[in-house]
Amino acid sequence: MAAPVTISRVDTDEVLRYMGCPPEKADAQLRALVEGCAGELLTVARPRWAWREMALTQEPQGVRLENGLLLPGADLKGHLAGCCRAAVFCATLGAETDTLIRRAEQRDMGRALALDCCASAAVEELCDQIELELQGKFPGCFFPYRFSPGYGDLPLEVQGELLNLLDAPRRVGLCANESSLLTPRKSVTAILGIAENELEETHRSCLGCPAREGCQYRKAGGHCGR
């Protein structure tokens, strides 16, 4: 069972990027809005997570987890080259975050957008913390960065099976709908590869990023800053 995590900050620049505004172009008014929303979000969000260690095998169609679940596609397979195990995890900010954003949408879309993007940044922050926590459980091992359904050619449709594997509905209240979208909305499932030996380049750039095809920042001519 996962140790409790708290998120104490969100990266304002990151939120601004999610909002479609280069951080250096944000004026004081906008920054104040984002900071106010970040504070509000952090009081409402109830971060929870669950994880499970899984042995994995490389197969022609993708990667198979020890419970028999096939994660299809070439991208994850390539990404996990050199890994015989993985930590599968999920994380959520909880349903109250969705309600907060819905409520804001009725009053002020500017605030709603800021809250929505603060929540996206907070989930990323949460995953960063979880990654660190998990890495600490496997001393001496090496880790490519986390990989989520929807990245590259790993279909979103595996979302439901990953949640089942983690018993996520019962343990953290996280489900997927019939289109394999996570509910509550501000949630993530991910696979963190675990390798015994040092991996080749895991530097983060758009070229190596499996999310590049659908990336909003690239579409807008920018990048996510990672």
């Binding site: 309600t99 019939e178 394999s180």
Partner: protein
């Protein structure tokens, strides 16, 4: 042996322990479906059940926790294969020594509003399980491990509508005393007892030592027996497993007899050994229920219980009577308008919101369902469902999560026979109007007689006395001046002689008179001193909330004047009403900025006030055409040129929106379609998709440019889009989808629009879309951002 006898008896009832963890111990492999154990490992299942019977369990849960069609889909087996086999095994193992329950866990999908599973679909999923269990001879149903009160309601309704079986309902809570979704034990208790559960409880989630606060809360809000099935302690942070031994478990459970818990079992990590020791620990004990006090009158949403322990304000604003903007919104199907009204009233201090969407030309039932669902997505306020039509009330009651108020019945027998059974079935409270076929009685005694008749009839249907609220009816004092005193006297007598809670619509009192707020405020104060519990008022009127807060202060209900000081500390309140009536507009301090600067800078807070001032001297259309639209255009052009970015664009749109709201309020006389109103645009986030913030941003921008928007919301069926486009003669339909898995819904929607041969263009947008893909799925336009959708609208509509 039957369930009723067990529950009626003096002794504790012993339930069984964990099944999943036991199956794993038997050798169930990772990746095997525990739901299929009855088919694939019948011996294991039988052995586990038998061990629990040996340990002393009086009720066994069949291995059906996940045996619903949603969860079974991936296994290739059906509900009709799994449930009878599972129940048969349990019955065989019980051999008459224990009862067998259909164990019914969550569907695995979240219901609206957090998820997208529709309420009626959930009812149907559970109903299929119940029917299979009835056929297989189950003795009762145990609904458990629920985190969503709405899903509990769906399951309970399915049991009630498809069987006569007794039913235990249990939710799972976090250490903060709420479910994952934030739902409260008190709300669960009020709601589920109202709907006819036989036992209410807690299972899974925590260990026995964490149970007392949850049990205490349940005790305060239900008269029903309470069940607990905790885990074997808290999860061990080091890895799998739980942190207390069978001995510790039994000892901690034994402590709970003091709280009057009736049924005891275990959940994850518990084994027959835990149950055997538990049985020993409880041996010879009797459970005393007598110390529980009466359950106070209260209503609730899943998160918030509102007890009638002080004056509770019912906000009256969600009602189209005499409100042109709301009528328009209802005709357009614009639910957002109602949500705005709701949030405004809550901020002003309303405790409960009345919801009336009756308009002859719309489908009231369908609209009621939409509005109730949407309201519960943004506010925690309990709702008062207000309609004259029983079929509308039933639709609303079905989807309302919590304990609602039904507004209303009257002393007429037919009305009561149509509506009171619904109140009972869905566990609501009800407003009884003291009138009947003969109209409103003249005398106080006649009103008392009707109140008594309503109460007696409600009681005969099994409705709690605390759930009957009487409305003694306000008569307009300008028409019948003697009426006010009679209303107050009837109110006083209903309060003191019948001991019932009272409701009163206050504002009608002053109709046709000058200085209405003065009359309303004083009448409200007089009514409260006669015992009024639930005034139906406009909480946005400062005078009315001031009267309520003052009453609470003066009656020593608002201890240490906390609420009063929070509301008025530092404020200056004018208590005088100047003759002549005109509202004085005080100039705001920040009057120096022009409206175009305010819009360009996105200063929403200043936009409304500035517009109001401008309207003193300028014509509304001039403000729109010469200031607002050019300012929006400038921001739009700056956005395209990369000088400003999405947040600024939206903030400007928000400021303009605030200005338009003021302008719209000042043009109430304008008939519909006048002023060159543009053709409407239908917007929807497609079926399956729940990410709609982008669509909502587009809506604000389009409305600013004067396009009426028919907003169908998110997760919208293709058929609904076609219907709306046809009905509103929309020349443009906008569709959004955020994820790759929902793009096919977008494609289907477009195909259906084409098939219907509607003369409309389609614009699409969303994160994963591209211009090429848009073309490929048959869209006419692709908008890469909200600004471009305005450009498309201008091109198509003008």
């Amino acid at each position: 042996m039957d369930v009723e006898a067990l529950l009626r008896g003096k002794n504790p009832v012993i339930l069984d322990g964990g099944m999943g963890t036991m199956l794993q111990a038997k050798g169930l492999k990772l990746g095997e479906y525990p739901e299929l154990a009855a088919l694939e490992h019948p011996d294991w299942v039988k052995e586990i059940h038998r061990a629990y019977v040996e340990a002393g369990a009086q009720i066994l849960c069949a291995n059906t926790f996940g045996a619903n069609r949603e969860k079974l889909r991936r296994t290739g087996k059906t509900v009709e294969e799994v449930i009878p086999a599972s129940i048969a095994l349990a019955k065989e193992a019980a051999a008459g020594r224990a009862l067998v329950a259909l164990d019914m866990g969550p569907t695995g999908q979240l219901l609206e509003p957090t998820g997208s599973l529709d309420f009626e679909t959930a009812v149907d999923i559970f109903a299929q399980e119940v029917r299979a269990a009835v056929k297989a001879g189950a003795d009762l149903v145990m609904i458990e491990t629920m985190t969503d009160l709405q899903e509990c309601r769906a399951a309970l309704l399915a049991v009630k509508e498809n069987s006569d079986l007794p039913v235990m309902v249990s939710l799972t809570y976090e250490e903060r005393g709420r479910t994952f979704l934030g739902h409260a034990p008190a709300a669960a208790a009020l709601t589920l007892e109202g709907m006819g559960a036989d036992v209410i409880g807690v299972n899974c989630s925590l260990g026995p030592r964490e149970m007392p606060p949850l049990v205490e809360e349940l005790r305060r809000w239900t008269t029903l027996p309470i069940s607990i099935k905790p885990n074997a302690g808290l999860p061990d942070p080091g890895g799998a497993g739980y942190d207390i031994t069978p001995e510790e478990f039994a000892a901690a459970m034994g402590e709970l007899t003091k709280l009057g818990v009736k049924c005891y079992g275990g959940c994850c990590g518990t084994t027959p050994e835990y149950i055997a020791l538990l049985k020993q620990a409880l041996e010879g004990r009797t459970i005393r229920e007598s110390e529980r006090g009466p359950i106070p009158a209260a209503v609730c949403s899943p998160n918030t219980v509102v007890p009638m322990d002080r004056v509770r304000v019912i906000g009256e604003r969600i009602n189209p009577t005499g409100k042109k903007l709301m009528k328009e919104a209802l005709r357009r199907g614009d639910v957002d308008f109602m949500l705005g009204q709701a949030l405004e009233q809550m901020e002003a201090g309303a405790d409960i919101l009345d919801v009336n969407v009756g308009l002859p030309e719309i489908d009231e039932g369908e609209m009621m369902v939409r509005v109730v669902k949407a309201l519960q997505g943004v506010t925690d306020a309990p709702l008062q469902l207000d309609s004259t039509r029983p079929e509308v009330l039933e639709k609303a009651l079905r989807v309302y999560c919590g304990k609602a108020i039904v507004n209303s019945v009257n002393g007429d027998r037919e009305t009561m026979e149509a509506i009171l059974p619904l109140v009972k079935k869905y566990g609501a409270a009800v407003v009884g109007l003291t009138l009947d076929k003969q109209g409103i009685p003249k005398t106080t005694q006649e009103r008392m007689d009707i109140a008594q008749r309503i109460l007696d009839t409600a009681l005969s249907y099994g409705i709690r006395r605390e759930d009957v609220y009487i409305d003694c009816l306000t008569l307009t004092v300008s028409a019948e001046q003697e009426g006010a005193a009679q209303t107050l006297e009837a109110l006083r007598r209903v309060h003191s002689e019948l001991g019932l809670k009272t409701v009163l619509g206050v504002s009608n009192i002053s109709f046709g008179l000058p200085a209405r707020p003065l009359i309303n405020q004083n009448f409200l104060t007089m009514a409260m001193t006669c015992g009024l519990d639930l005034p139906i008022i406009n909480p946005n009127m400062g005078e009315m909330m001031a009267a309520v807060r003052s009453y609470h202060l003066l009656m020593n209900i608002d201890k240490e004047a906390r609420d009063f000081i929070a509301a008025y500390g530092g404020a200056t309140i004018s208590t005088s009403i100047t003759s002549g009536g005109g509202q004085q507009v005080t100039a705001p301090g920040a009057g120096e900025r022009s409206l175009s600067q305010i819009v360009e800078s996105g200063l929403r807070g200043e936009a409304g006030e500035c517009t109001r001032k401008l309207l003193d001297t300028a014509d509304p259309m001039t403000i729109v055409d010469d200031i607002l639209i050019p300012a929006l255009d400038k921001v739009g052009a700056d956005f395209e040129a990369g000088r400003v970015f999405l947040p600024q664009l939206i903030q400007s749109a928000g400021a303009a929106q605030a200005a338009f709201e003021v302008i719209r309020q000042t043009m109430p006389a304008q008939p519909e379609g006048a002023g060159g109103e543009k053709a409407p645009i239908v917007l929807a986030t497609v079926k399956g998709d729940i990410h709609d913030i982008g669509k909502n941003i587009v809506k604000v921008l389009l409305e600013n440019y004067g396009y009426p928007v028919i907003d169908l919301g998110k997760d919208v069926d293709p058929e609904e889009v076609v219907r709306a486009a046809e009905k509103h003669h929309a020349p443009l339909v906008g569709l959004s989808a955020l994820m790759t898995t929902t793009l096919h819904s977008m494609e289907q929607t477009i195909a259906l629009l084409r098939k219907a041969n509607l003369p409309c263009k389609v614009v699409v947008g969303g994160a994963v879309l591209t211009a090429e893909y848009a073309k490929q799925i048959g869209a006419d336009f692709y908008a890469k951002d909200a600004k471009q959708s305005v450009d498309v609208a201008r091109q198509v509509i003008g």
